[in-house]
């Protein structure tokens, strides 16, 4: 059977379970007709002075936004996780889901006037694959056996193994399309809605509208300026005084204060990002699933969401999928704080006075230390002693995470379920160094492979449901919370339904928003 994955079908496929997650005012906003003009100024929280416009390097919010102002992917992820054809007009997979053919959009040109062709796609993807590439997209593309152009408008990907989720991969951060042979990435040449005027890393960027933008009904602003603002209060002050029109990473404490006036609107979006305390299942005492269960039962998730996330998040259920994922299983009962039951499991494991060390710092997420301290208090009621070990913030990922048997972690959302399960919970993940719990369960490995081959949505849903259940019951990770994205926006700015992939409307605010 050949599956034609055009937008309608895909929308049906993926959008069916999409929840109305954006809590802001999508209806009123989208009812208006977009108006062109004005300068949008955004205060960006996440940036670095050392960043460039090389698609293979780093991954800050600032960079993502700037890339998507200047460049396009083959596929765009819309609100509710819908895949929208971008530079690819359509795509289809072979029956065995190993060959994927992308048909490219015609008549698109780069900012420098060069027409967009299949060679550009192949060059752009190869940037990540070439020897010595540091790209975070590289593991995602590891499954690609070969790429070839079939005329200027068609690109064919041959995969090593079947993967029905491959098209979604092309929407990933980093897989922006740049002109064939481009080496000076800081010129910012792309096919995007804006053309680069000025870029000073760690300070700001200015772009102006691309008059020849191929996408209809997008990129409404004359210019878009992004300003790097590390300090949350500075961002709030700048918005309050009208020096900027929007900013991301709102300090949860100030949300209610920002909402006092009526000039500012808070955009709160449920995200796929989760916080967890992973335990290595191959290290004592976590080799016993009873111990792991006891640890999972001994944490009061509600308390942490309320106190560490100031309520801007939701409780996790010890598997990596939030309701923002298409294949989220609502059937698995929510695990609750139950010290008595935890004691029972401990007794069963013969570890009644369990003492463990939890290695944390605020590097994985702000408040990780607080969360650990709260966890320590919760667990004490189950007779578990947690010694919170405060590790240096710098070097946390290299010397603590995935090295210590019990630590803190954060995972931002991934394009689809396959990526997160294969990357973090499979045997392949152990090889690649991403499997922080060292879970090596044959059932998991098999289910991940099966799901990749399964075109039928409902069957896939069942497979992923089983995966979630296994990780929930037997996995090593104590996934206690999903965070929300909070942006603050001036009421002058209008927009449609918001995407939950990243802050600022999936990092595409510049293209999607307009001034009322």
């Amino acid at each position: 059977m050949q599956d034609h994955c055009g937008i309608n079908r895909r929308g049906l496929l993926l959008g069916a379970s999409a929840l109305g997650l954006a809590s802001s005012l999508p209806l009123r906003a989208s009812a208006q007709t977009p108006r062109k003009g004005g300068t949008l100024r955004i205060g960006m929280a996440d940036f670095s002075t050392s960043e460039t416009l090389d698609p293979t390097l780093m991954d800050s919010q600032f960079q993502q936004n700037l890339h998507w102002q200047l460049r396009n992917n083959l596929i765009e992820v819309g609100p509710g996780g819908v895949l929208i054809p971008e530079l690819a007009e359509s795509w289809e997979g072979s029956k065995d889901a190993k060959t994927w053919t992308f048909r490219l959009r015609k008549g698109v040109t780069f900012h420098n006037g060069k027409p967009f062709t299949a060679d550009d796609v192949i060059y752009s993807f190869n940037l990540h694959l070439k020897e010595g590439s540091k790209s975070q997209a590289r593991p995602l593309l590891a499954q690609v056996e070969s790429m070839k152009a079939d005329g200027p408008e068609v690109v064919v990907f041959e995969l090593k193994d079947a993967n029905v989720g491959f098209p979604a991969i092309t929407s990933a951060v980093g897989l922006y399309i740049v002109p064939n042979g481009e080496t000076d990435f800081d010129k910012g040449i792309g096919t995007g809605g804006y053309i680069l005027e000025h870029f000073q890393p760690g300070v700001r960027s200015v772009v102006r509208r691309n008059p020849n933008y191929w996408k209809a009904g997008r990129a409404h602003f004359d210019t878009v300026e992004m300003i790097c603002m590390k300090d949350a209060t500075a961002r709030a002050n700048a918005l309050l005084t009208g020096q900027i029109d929007a900013y991301n990473s709102v300090d949860a404490k100030t949300v209610s204060l920002l909402q006092r006036g009526n000039a500012i609107r808070i955009n709160r979006v449920k995200s796929k990002a989760h916080f967890a305390f992973p335990m290595m299942v191959n290290q004592a005492p976590f080799t016993s699933n009873d111990v792991r269960l006891a640890m999972k039962l001994a944490i009061d998730r509600e308390d942490i969401v309320k106190r560490v996330l100031s309520g801007f998040g939701s409780v996790g259920n010890d598997h990596p999928l939030s309701p923002a994922y298409q294949m989220y299983s609502a059937d698995i009962p929510q695990r609750a704080y139950d010290p008595d039951k935890a004691k029972f499991h401990l007794k069963k494991a013969g570890a009644s006075d369990l003492r463990v060390q939890l290695h944390v710092s605020d590097t994985p997420f702000t408040g990780a230390t607080d969360a650990a301290v709260l966890y320590k208090a919760h667990a004490a009621k189950a007779g578990i002693t947690i010694d919170v070990v405060k590790e240096p913030e710098d070097g946390y990922w290299s010397s603590v995470w995935s090295k210590k048997p019990f630590c803190a972690t954060r995972w931002s959302g991934r394009v689809n379920e396959d990526v997160i399960f294969s990357l973090v919970y499979s045997a392949d993940g152990i090889k690649a160094g991403w499997n922080e719990t060292r879970l090596n369960d044959d059932r998991v490995n098999r289910l991940v492979a099966d799901a990749r081959r399964e075109f039928d949505t409902e069957k896939r849903r069942a497979l992923y449901g089983e995966l979630q259940r296994i990780v929930h019951d037997d996995g090593g990770s104590n996934i206690f919370a999903f965070s929300d994205f909070i942006d603050a926006v001036s009421n002058k700015v209008t927009h449609g339904e918001l995407s939950g992939e990243y802050m600022l409307d999936g990092s595409r605010a510049a293209e999607r928003w307009w001034f009322a």
Binding site: K253, K390, P392
Partner: protein, 285 residues
């Protein structure tokens, strides 16, 4: 002379200073008994107004100074904060003065190479931006309270060294030190018994200032994410955590900031008086 009599004759500023200090000391000693709530207890909505600064006609608030960003009682946290802040500042200043004074006296007594080496080391340390130095050390060693104390103490010690050295150099030129040298006394004895007792008064003034700057430095470090880690209450962090509220017209962060300022002013008033009364300098003309 008896202390009470001396106190009685102290100028008004010194009396005010002593009063403020006494209140702080009581907070340090008896925090759990006098604070209305526990250190981390959530008592209301975030930034709820207290009796002070509540808009008229509002329901009677349950707290005196309102609540902080997590809804904890500000007064209680101020009282507990006094304990942490003051003890940390005291410990830090004590360590920095021990190091600074020892090295300063050593440099002044030994002169020559020892003096040159110590002075150049201090030059180098002072040539480093303080905050950057702290950032790098804290990045290497991790931001725990002992490391924090050590880093600030070391940085402050450079200043103490300079002052001690200058004072001790003057003293060292006095005949009584020469007498001790001629007697054959050891360096240690000269430092401890001849120089130190006479250097106390100028150093006391510095102690007052340095003591207070520890609060500020910790607050600044926590501003860049390296200070005292929550949920420990300390004044600097309280200012930092709640500073954002100022933009919204909420005065809560003023309370811990004022606590720091008050203590600073108080300590310096006392020090000014102590220095003036021991050195006997008067200004009547």
């Amino acid at each position: 002379m008896n202390i009470l009599g001396k106190l009685n004759r102290a100028p008004l500023s010194a009396k005010i200073g002593i009063g403020i200090l006494a209140i702080n000391v009581i907070c340090v000693l008896f925090a759990p008994w006098i604070a209305p709530y526990a250190e981390g207890q959530v008592v209301g909505d975030p930034w709820a107004p207290g009796l002070v600064g509540a808009p008229e006609g509002d329901l009677a608030p349950t707290t005196l100074l309102g609540t902080d960003h997590l809804g904890r009682d500000v007064l209680s946290r101020l009282i507990f904060g006094a304990r942490n802040s003051i003890l940390i500042a005291l410990l830090t200043t004590t360590i920095s003065f021990s190091i600074g004074i020892t090295c300063g006296l050593l440099a002044a007594t030994m002169r020559g190479t020892v003096d040159q080496v110590l002075s150049r080391i201090v030059d180098v340390m002072m040539g480093f931006p303080t905050l950057i130095f702290a950032l790098m050390v804290l990045a290497i060693l991790g931001s725990s309270i002992p490391v924090l104390i050590g880093v600030i103490a070391l940085l402050d010690a450079t200043r103490v060294f300079r002052i001690t050295r200058a004072v001790a150099m003057d003293l060292e030129a006095q005949d009584f030190v020469e007498v001790a040298r001629l007697r054959g006394e050891s360096i240690g004895w000269i430092m401890r018994r001849e120089l130190l007792p006479n250097a106390v008064s100028p150093l006391a003034a510095e102690f007052g200032l340095r003591f207070c700057f520890v609060f500020l430095f910790i607050a600044t470090l926590s501003f860049v994410g390296l200070g005292i880690q929550p949920p420990t209450a300390d004044w600097g962090s309280m200012v930092r955590e709640n500073a954002a509220a100022i933009s919204f017209g909420i005065l809560m962060p003023l309370f811990p900031a004022s606590a720091i300022a008050l203590l600073t002013v108080a300590v310096n008033m006392i020090v000014d008086w102590a220095v003036a009364s021991t050195s006997g300098v008067r200004n009547d003309n």
